[in-house]
Symmetry: C2
Subunit: 239 residues, 2 copies
Amino acid sequence: MTENPATENPTASKAPAKDPWELPDVHDLTVGVLGGTGDQGRGLAYRFAQAGQSVVIGSRSAERARAAAEELGHGVAGADNAECAERSDVVIVAVPWEGHAATLESLREPLRGKLVVDCVNPLGFDKKGAYPLTPEEGSAAQQAAVLLPESRVTAAFHHLSAVLLSDPEVERIDTDVMVLGEVRADCEIVQALASRIPGMRGVFAGRLRNAHQVEALVANLISVNRRYKAHAGVRLTDI
Amino acid sequence: MTENPATENPTASKAPAKDPWELPDVHDLTVGVLGGTGDQGRGLAYRFAQAGQSVVIGSRSAERARAAAEELGHGVAGADNAECAERSDVVIVAVPWEGHAATLESLREPLRGKLVVDCVNPLGFDKKGAYPLTPEEGSAAQQAAVLLPESRVTAAFHHLSAVLLSDPEVERIDTDVMVLGEVRADCEIVQALASRIPGMRGVFAGRLRNAHQVEALVANLISVNRRYKAHAGVRLTDI
């Protein structure tokens, strides 16, 4: 049942509601991708660069980042993770879950004040398939928020297929990007960025305390992909 | 990242894969709805009856169930929960989370051997909105499986708007129903039932250990509904 008994907001009538689809202009922002040499990071970097965004991919090794950037083309730059964070306005965290805490801790300074977008899905795999891991903080995004108290942490881009992102034959990716965070203006920047990729909509989908299930849903998408031989994504209906 | 490094199944080539959209004929099955006088239960009963399914709604009070059934029309019957379970082939559990364990425990006998479909979303609410509760067993569906060891427990119908389900002006509900369970044949019956409602597809979405995030995602849909003034549902893309 998706109705909330507490939906009635007694203060709602005081100001006209802002159009939730009215999003800021983000085309001038530089997007950094930590873990940008991995499949997911490379795919996101490719799509953002193709959409005309200035993109810097980061890696532990600046050299590897530069090599990957050159391969991607579209003006993508490569740097070590710290420089990637420094040069970017919005920093997407696409590192493997295993390195998540250590990477973010080491980047606290360059990420200060930055809009951080966590897209990491903590998952385990066994012979029955994928299953979610539950970080002590509740989710990868909440772990990022704890480790980066002076950054503006959001979560998004969990349900995208790296295969589709990276395939130059795929022109549109018809899917919604659920964006979570505590500050509306920050979420709206991430929503606007998502919406720059053809086929995608950035949709606000709750606070960070509701990030775990969004991250964990990837385990279900993996089951769907196996059964239907697909690269499943998620669309929200009625919006 | 939704790709599974372990997707390659070395035994997959031994038999041709079954078409995942080939589902059994379920039109003869009687569908019971425990908690059928609540918003969600009533809405589901209405849709299944309208689709031509024989439906029995259950309640703690047989009288209340009969009154609700009469109001629904379309041949819906009402009974107390135990009789509802006995008379049905497939039993949907749509009781409030607070009564979930006690109701199922009391119905262990009449639910023996039945295909049970849990659609309960354990949620809490505070002034920041909805957030998921985590049952000791992992999810409501897993709790049902523990409490009903001789039933065939699945999970589905979590993301449907009771408002849309109950609105006779709404002819189609364009959404996918994620179906979870351990036994493929049982999941396929539930998928086939979901697919009888115009606009809906029943999609296999994993084992019961992956039910928590599907239940919890309702907290996100509630955030979406508030922001976009909608009755959001979920569609899976690329399938």
